[in-house]
């Protein structure tokens, strides 16, 4: 398109305007707030400082970070362990259209509604406790809800579809003849997994891990509703700094670390696509 059509100009202008004003500018504001001084009344005031990033290193906040990252990493690992074989079977199934649809539905269902549904199952007189009590396996209801375990289950439950869908996309493109070739050449199951399936699906693994790990850090309502007050995670910390403690710079600094983590994961994704994406394109149908 070398000609200067007014339509083209208008389209590009609208799109550029929206992205610059509502995406780039707000994110630059967060970056700016994270290095400015705190003000009791107007939230921030001029004056460059790295004090808020140093404050993130205080024992209390560092503890929240470490716990939050442990929860998110654990959630990602469990979702991957559950989702990888699942996506593999899905991509090979003859009924995969229907089966895929059954994953897409929870993917699009409100996470709040799904978290709430989990409360009904886990609460003291909920489904699990009722079943266990009636079969006589336990005498007292188990304290499932309002625990760290419940937060963990909640994160896995909410985010599992976000792991399965990118994995499925990677598996669907994968030609099973490659595995047959591996077996024919004398490779063991483990070798086929390690040298054929894993490398080819690596972009899907990283995409899925990104879509689970990042929200797991920020979903403040899951620990809010399923955990006791003790299980505070990064999302709750940021939320509190903005709404309760009114310490915007600290909240902005915490949020910048999330953005930084996202940058790292996106970078890993592009590197993996560059490294393994091309052979995948060449090898698949």
């Amino acid at each position: 398109m070398t000609d200067r059509s007014p339509f083209k100009t208008a389209v590009v202008a609208v799109v550029a305007f929206w992205i610059l004003v509502f995406v780039l500018l707000p994110n630059l504001l967060v970056l700016a707030a994270s290095v400015l001084a705190r003000d009791e009344v107007r939230f921030i005031r001029p004056g460059f400082t790295l004090a808020h990033y140093r404050a993130l290193m205080s024992t209390e906040i560092l503890g929240i970070f470490v716990r939050s990252i442990a929860y998110a990493a654990g959630t990602t690992a469990i979702c991957l362990a559950m989702g990888y074989p699942f996506a593999f079977l899905l991509a090979r199934s003859s009924a995969r259209k229907l089966l895929l649809m059954l994953v897409v539905i929870p993917f699009w269902t409100s996470s709040l509604v799904r978290t709430y549904a989990l409360i009904i199952v886990l609460k003291a007189n909920g489904l699990i406790n009722t079943l266990l009590l009636e079969t006589g396996l336990i005498q007292q209801p188990l304290p499932l809800l309002y625990s760290n375990t419940a937060v963990f289950i909640g994160l896995v439950y909410t985010l599992l579809p976000f792991m399965i869908l990118p994995l499925y996309a990677a598996m669907e493109k994968f030609d099973p003849a490659l595995m047959e070739a591996g077996y024919d050449l004398g490779a063991s199951r483990l070798q086929v997994l390690r040298h054929i399936l894993l490398p080819v699906t690596l972009p899907g693994i990283i995409a899925g891990a990104t879509m689970v790990f990042l929200p797991a850090l920020g979903l403040f309502y899951v620990p809010d509703l399923l955990g006791g007050a003790r299980s505070m995670l990064l999302g709750n910390l940021i939320k509190n700094q903005f709404l309760a403690a009114r310490n915007w710079p600290l909240g902005a600094a915490a949020s910048m670390t999330l953005t930084l983590l996202m940058g790292l994961l996106l970078w890993a994704y592009f590197v993996s696509v560059r490294r393994y994406g091309d052979p995948r394109e060449a090898l698949t149908r």
Binding site: M1, I19, F22, F86, W108, V121, L214, S255
Partner: protein, 260 residues
């Protein structure tokens, strides 16, 4: 015959995961028809929690607000997202890679980061938090989903069809209006439906950008759920789930039509 146990194991595995995904939702739906407020035992079928919803002015108001925000923001997001997809596919302009990258970043960025960045932006430009800030925010997080859905569809097009229209004297706008848009229509509708669902379900971004005078349904549910399990919330959640189900189903039909 030797492979039968392996096949049973595979099916069992699939069933377990689906059970994990669907059991809580199934229990929620079942309890929304249960004729008791406290017990979790089955006390008989009732529709009274749904009738109670109809009598709850506050809930109906927040549902109305949510629908208004969702209709408006998904429509505008679809318009801009369609244009964006066309622009990124057909046009070369300075900053194209940066803008496309930013769109991708929006899609991946955690909701909480988007929520606080927009909150700060709205305070900076002195926009009263409420209806307008919600619509602007919802358009922003729906935009990349529309653009990606439609971009995938344009990439399948034969570019010669558009070039033929241009060669026959159509302006860029006429080619868009009469050639590109009709071909894109299923993807446009699908993008609109997905935006509608995203907007209707959003909690985190809305939490930061809404004001006290404009209440929307997910935040209302959030504040109710914090106080515990209530049968009215079961019914309301079931309604929301049904809306999502319909949206996904219709959107699926549209995408399916494209392949046939």
């Amino acid at each position: 015959m030797r492979r039968r146990p392996a096949k049973i194991a595979r099916i069992l595995y699939l069933v377990t995961i689906y059970g994990f995904l669907y059991l809580p939702i199934a229990v929620l739906i079942l309890y929304s028809f249960n004729d008791t407020r406290y017990s979790s035992n089955w006390q008989g079928f009732t529709l009274k929690w749904y009738t109670a919803l109809g009598d709850n002015r506050m809930l109906l108001d927040s549902l109305g607000n949510s629908l208004l925000v969702a209709l408006l923001s998904s429509t505008i997001a679809t318009a801009i997202g369609t244009l964006a997809a066309v622009a990124f596919q057909r046009y070369r302009f300075p900053g194209r890679k940066l803008l496309y990258g930013l769109l991708f970043v929006v899609m991946m960025s955690p909701d909480i980061v988007m929520g606080i960045s927009l909150l700060m932006f709205f305070i900076l430009v002195r926009l009263e938090p409420g209806f307008l800030t919600l619509v602007l925010s919802h358009i922003t997080f729906c935009l990349p989903f529309v653009a990606v859905t439609i971009h995938a569809r344009i990439a399948d097009f034969d570019p010669n069809v558009i070039e033929a229209a241009r060669d026959l004297g159509a302006s860029e706008y006429q080619a868009f209006r009469h050639v590109i848009l009709p071909m894109l229509l299923p993807a446009v509708v699908s993008g609109w439906l997905l935006s509608f669902t995203l907007s209707l379900d959003d909690v985190i971004v809305s939490f930061f950008v809404t004001g006290p005078t404009f209440e929307i349904l997910p935040l209302k549910i959030y504040s109710m759920v914090r106080l515990g399990v209530k049968p009215e919330v079961n019914a309301l959640s079931t309604v929301l789930f049904a809306i999502t189900l319909m949206t996904v189903f219709v959107s699926h039909l549209l995408v399916k039509e494209k392949r046939s």
